[in-house]
C-alpha cells in the first residue's frame, strides 16, 4: 500500500519529502526489531529485580531459620569411634573433606576403597561435645569412616552451666551437705528440688552482692564525693568542711559496718552453697564435681516429649531476652544489649526529630531560595554519605572530650580525674547517631514540605494567618506523614549502626544498665551494650567462634526484629496520619 504513496509523492518530491519518506520506511520496518521493542532489556530488568529479591529474601530466610532453631533442643549422640574411644555431643553440622595421606595410611582396606570411590573425599560431622573444662575444646570432628556405631541413650544429660559452657554426660551422684545420693535413689524429683534450692541460693547471693552491697557502696561513694566537693569549694580548713567531715565519717563508719555485715552474710550463704554439689561424669568416665548452683538447667535431650522440648525452647528464649550474658557473651541473655539499643534509638529519635525538622523548615519555608540555600542543601545531602566512623571520631572528640570534659570540670570536679561525661556514653552515642541521621530527616522533611501545595499556604495567609501559624496549622500537619517516614529511615539506620558507637560508648560488657533505682534513675553518662556490637563481639571476638555462631544468628534475628518493629510502629502511625489527607473527591 505504501508503495503507491511513495509513487504519489515522488511526482512532486522535494528533498524534504524524501527524508520524510525514508524516516517513515525505517519506522515501519523497525517495529519488528526485537531490540527496538526492548524485550531483552525488560528481561534483564526483571532478572535483576528477581536476583536482588532472591538475595535479600535468601539472606533473611537464612537468619530467621538459624535464629529460630538455635534454642530448640537437639539430640545428643554417643558415638563409638574405631579406636575404641567414645564421643558424646550434639551433631551440629557435617561436611565433605579430603583426608590427608597420613590419615589414609592408618585406615583399613574397605574404608580406603570407599574413600577412593568418592575420589578421595570423605564425610565428617562436627559434634558439640561441651565439657570445655575437661577437653579444652567445645567441638570435635568425627569422620564417618572412623565411626563404628551411633547411639542416642536416653539417660545422657545436656547440662547448661554458668561457667565453662555445657556439660554432656551423666550424673554420678548428688552431694547434699555430706549426704550422698546416687544410683536409683537419685530420682529426677530429688535432683530438681535440690537444683531449685541451689538456684534460690544463687539468687540470694547475687541480690546481696549486687543490690544491697551495691546500694551501700553507692551511698559510701556519694558521701565521699560530697565531702570532696565541700573540700574543693570551701577548703579543707573551713569550719563547714570540718563539721561535714565529722558527720560524714560517722556515717561512713556505719555504712562500712553495714558493708561488712552484708559481706559476711554473702560469705555464709556461699559457704552453705558450696556444700551442695553434683558429681558429673563425661562419656569417657572422667568425673567433675561442681556446685549445684552453677547449673542453669538439667535436660535429657534424648528423652523429651515434643511438649517438653517446646517448653525448654520457650524458656531458653525467655532467658535470652531477659537475662544478662555470661561466658564472655557467648551464652545467657542479651537483655542489656537489647535495652541499650532500644534506649539509644529512642533518645536518638528524640534528638534528631526537632533538629532535622527545624532545619528543614528554615531551609524550605523561611530562607530566601538562592545560591546559598542550594549550597547548604547540597552539603546536607552529602553529609548523608560521610562514612559513619568519621562521625564516631567527631562524637568522641567533640561530644565526649570537649562537651563532656567541660561538663565534668563544671559540675563534677570532685570526681576528677575520673570522667563522668568526659568519656563515651549513652547520651553522646545518641547525639552522634542523631548527627549521623539528621541529613536523612532534613531531606525527607524538605521533600514533605515541598509536597504541600502552595495553594494551601496561600489560602492560610489570605485568611490573615502569619507565616508561623500557617506552618503550625497547615503545613506541618500535612507534611507529618512524610516527616515520619524520614524519622523511620533515620531510626532504622541509627539502630543498625555500630562503627561510630564503638568510639562513643558501646562496650562489650556494661556492668550497669543506664536505668536503675539510684537517683537520677536514668544515667545518660553510662556506657552501654548494643546488639550490633554484641553480634560483632560474640561472632568474632570470642574464644570459640563455633560456639558463638548460634548466638550470632539469634542476636541478628533479634536486631532485625527490633528494627522491623520500630519501623512497623512508625509506619502505622504515619498511615493513620496520612488517611486524614487522602480523602478524594466523590
Amino acid at each position: 500500500m505504501y508503495k503507491s504513496i511513495t509513487f504519489a509523492l515522488t511526482r512532486t518530491a522535494t528533498a524534504a519529502d524524501q527524508t520524510a519518506e525514508a524516516v517513515k520506511y525505517i519506522r515501519r520496518k523497525g517495529r519488528s526489531d526485537l531490540s527496538a521493542r526492548g524485550e531483552p532489556f525488560l528481561w534483564g530488568l526483571g532478572g535483576a529485580l528477581a536476583f536482588g529479591m532472591l538475595m535479600i529474601f535468601g539472606f533473611l530466610a537464612l537468619i530467621v531459620w538459624n535464629g529460630l532453631v538455635t534454642f530448640y533442643p537437639k539430640p545428643v549422640q554417643v558415638v563409638t569411634l574405631s579406636d575404641g574411644t567414645l564421643l558424646a555431643g550434639e551433631p551440629s553440622r557435617s561436611e565433605v573433606y579430603k583426608p590427608g595421606p597420613q590419615v589414609l595410611e592408618h585406615l583399613d582396606e574397605p574404608a580406603r576403597q570407599a574413600i577412593a570411590a568418592e575420589h578421595g573425599y570423605a564425610r565428617r560431622t562436627l559434634f558439640r561435645t561441651g565439657n570445655f573444662d575437661l577437653y579444652n575444646e567445645d567441638f570435635r570432628w568425627a569422620s564417618d569412616f572412623s565411626i563404628v556405631s551411633v547411639a542416642e541413650p536416653a539417660d545422657v544429660y545436656f547440662i547448661e552451666r554458668i561457667e565453662w559452657g555445657p556439660f554432656v554426660g551423666f550424673i554420678r551422684s548428688l552431694n547434699l551437705k555430706g549426704e550422698t545420693v546416687s544410683g536409683a535413689a537419685l530420682t529426677r524429683q530429688i535432683l530438681e528440688e535440690a537444683h531449685r534450692r541451689a538456684v534460690q541460693r544463687r539468687e540470694l547471693i547475687r541480690e546481696i552482692e549486687r543490690e544491697e552491697i551495691g546500694a551501700v557502696n553507692h551511698r559510701l561513694n556519694s558521701e565521699r564525693l560530697k565531702l570532696k566537693r565541700i573540700a574543693l569549694k570551701q577548703g579543707e580548713n573551713s569550719d563547714t568542711y570540718r563539721q561535714a567531715a565529722a558527720e560524714s565519717l560517722a556515717l561512713q563508719e556505719t555504712l562500712q559496718g553495714r558493708y561488712h555485715d552484708l559481706a559476711r552474710d554473702a560469705q555464709a550463704v556461699k559457704a552453705e552453697d558450696a556444700q551442695y554439689t553434683v558429681t558429673l561424669a563425661e562419656i569417657g568416665g572422667r568425673g567433675k564435681t561442681i556446685p549445684l548452683s552453677q547449673v542453669v538447667r538439667f535436660t535429657l535431650p534424648n528423652d523429651m516429649s515434643f511438649f517438653e522440648k517446646i517448653r525448654l525452647y520457650l524458656s531458653r528464649w525467655l532467658e535470652f531476652l531477659t537475662d544478662e550474658p555470661r561466658e564472655a557473651n557467648a551464652e545467657g541473655g542479651v537483655m542489656p544489649a537489647l535495652f541499650g539499643t532500644f534506649v539509644m534509638t529512642v533518645l536518638m529519635a528524640l534528638a534528631v526529630a526537632p533538629f532535622g525538622v527545624m532545619a528543614a523548615l528554615y531551609l524550605r519555608e523561611y530562607a530566601k531560595q538562592g545560591k546559598l540555600v542550594s549550597v547548604v542543601r547540597i552539603c546536607v545531602n552529602n553529609l548523608a554519605g560521610v562514612p559513619s566512623i568519621v562521625y564516631g571520631v567527631f562524637g568522641l572528640g567533640f561530644f565526649a572530650y570537649i562537651c563532656g570534659g567541660t561538663i565534668d570540670r563544671l559540675f563534677f570536679p570532685e570526681r576528677l580525674p575520673n570522667p563522668v561525661f568526659g568519656t563515651g556514653g549513652l547520651l553522646w552515642a545518641s547525639l552522634t547517631l542523631a548527627l549521623l541521621t539528621v541529613p536523612v530527616v532534613i531531606v525527607a522533611t524538605e521533600e514533605a514540605l515541598a509536597a504541600v501545595p502552595q495553594s494551601m499556604r496561600e489560602g492560610s495567609l489570605a485568611c490573615g494567618a502569619s507565616r508561623w501559624q500557617t506552618i503550625k496549622y497547615i503545613v506541618l500537619p500535612r507534611a507529618l506523614p512524610g516527616i515520619m517516614t524520614g524519622l523511620i529511615l533515620a531510626m532504622a539506620r541509627g539502630a543498625g549502626e555500630v562503627a561510630p558507637l564503638m568510639l562513643v560508648g558501646v562496650v562489650k560488657l556494661a556492668p550497669e544498665l543506664p536505668l536503675d533505682g539510684f537517683f537520677p534513675y536514668i544515667h545518660l553518662e553510662r556506657s552501654f551494650m548494643h546488639l550490633g556490637f554484641h553480634i560483632f563481639d560474640v561472632g568474632f571476638q570470642s574464644r570459640n567462634s563455633e560456639a558463638g555462631k548460634p548466638m550470632v544468628f539469634v542476636t541478628t534475628l533479634l536486631l532485625i526484629s527490633l528494627v522491623a518493629f520500630l519501623n512497623a510502629t512508625a509506619i502505622v502511625i504515619r498511615n493513620r496520619l496520612k488517611r486524614r489527607f487522602l480523602i478524594g473527591h466523590f
Binding site: 489560602g459 485568611c463 480523602i583 466523590f586
Partner: protein
Amino acid sequence: MEAARKIDENDHTVYHIKTTGRGPLIETEHFCLWYGSSQALFDVSMDIELGLVTALIGPSGCGKSTLLRSLNRMNDLIDGLRTRGAVRFDGHDIYDRDTDVIGLRKRMGMVFQKPNPFPMSISENVTYPLKVDGIHDKTVLAETVERALQGAALWEEVKDRLKDNALGLSGGQQQRLCIARAIAADPDVLLMDEPCSALDPIATARIEELINELRGRYTIIIVTHNMQQAARVSDNTAFMYLGRLIEYGETTRIFTTPRSAKTEDYVTGRFG
C-alpha cells in the same frame, strides 16, 4: 458602532468612564510592579467603589491576578518583587513600610482559582480565620459556621456533616466552602481570582448567584476571563491589556460603548 478602529500598541491612553458607587474604598495610584526584571503592571490607576462588584477582565497574562494579589499583598511571597506607586485602602497606602500586612489580609477575604479547602473538617475550615485570631469560644464558632455557610449558600447541603473532611465535597461545594471561609471573619473586601474557572456550568451559575447575593455587603473584586460572567455579575468593569489598565467604567457602558479599540476588540471576541 464605529467601523474597525485601528489599534495602536503604543497608545497608552486610559479611558476612565464614570463608575457608579458611593465612593472609592481602594485606590491604586500609578501602580507599577516588577517580577524580577520583567514588569507586569504599568501605571495602573483606578478607584474601586465601596460595596460594589468590580470585574477585572482581559486576555490571560495581562496582569489581572497580579493586580488582585497586589491588593492584599499576597505577592509578598514572591522573591524579587518590586512595586512603585501606591495602593490605598481606606486612605492608607498598603505598601507603606509600617503597614500591618496580616491585619490588612484579615480585612480582605480571598477566593482562589482552584478551590483550596484545608484538609480538615468543614467547620474547621470555616473557623480557620477565627482560630488564627485566637477565638476559641464554642458558641461563637458555631454561630460563625452557620452564618458563613449560609452566606455562601452551602449550609443546607452540609449542615448534617460539618465534622466530615472538607476534601470529600464536590468541586463546586469546595469553592463555596472557600467563599464561606473568606467571609467567616466578616471582611470588608472579597477578592476572587477566577473563582469559577475550575467548575462546571451548574456550579458556576450557583457561584454567580451567590455573588449577586453578597453584593452590597462586601466590596467584591472578581477576576474573570468570561465576559458574559463579568457582564452578569459586576457593576463596574476594568479591562486590562499587557499589564496596563485600558478602560474602566460602568459595566454596561464597557460592554455596549467601549471607548478604546482594544476593549472593543476584546469584548466583541476579536482577540483574547
